[in-house]
Point group: C2
Chain length 112, copies 2
């Protein structure tokens, strides 16, 4: 059935400015996770969390894309806050940010 379809009052559509901000924020986070290579990277770093993360070169070997491409994916994930970089010159150790993963879930649960 869907007999009432279209009878929805304007009231049902009312939305606060904060709500729109939250939705946009969520969309941005979702976008960071919207590529298989990035999900792969997140998963690897998630698994390696206790082992202290890993290097970009390890990720490059694993995902099978060019170094520059992986670097770009890393940049996107970093910007979204899902991973962080610990300088360990001349290397850089990438690690998962479990809190950000948790926050994403919270955002989702709050929306739906």
């Amino acid at each position: 059935m869907a007999t009432d379809c279209g009878k929805s009052t304007q009231l049902a559509f009312r939305v606060t400015e904060q709500q729109l901000i939250d939705e946009k924020s969520f969309a941005t986070q979702a976008k960071a996770m919207s590529h298989p290579a990035r999900v792969r990277i997140l998963k690897i770093l998630f698994n390696l969390d206790e082992l202290g993360g890993c290097l970009s070169s390890d990720l490059v070997a694993e995902v099978g894309l060019a170094q520059s491409t992986v670097s770009e994916h890393i940049r996107i994930l970093k910007q979204a806050g899902f991973i962080c970089a610990e300088p360990n010159p001349p290397k850089i150790c990438y690690r998962i940010n479990r809190q950000a993963l948790e926050d994403y879930k919270q955002q989702y649960c709050q929306l739906f």
Copy 2:
């Protein structure tokens, strides 16, 4: 610290074919939610679930984009399984698919 960084064994990177499929599937779902207008649409339909969904024209009015643009966003959400269309000629009633929303959360929890 990050002293162990780089010492990760190959073992830690081992991944099954199914795992890759799941990650790709999750990325695809995330992509469907990676646009503010689409999140907005999902939220509206989520709120209207008990009221029996709403029409495309209602969504057009709400998100403030052209009818054809909203139609495309609807198509993407439909394809991802997050919403469904109930023909109610000549209108079409769009509704949220709560199960798909739940499944997405499960996918996420399974990954991280």
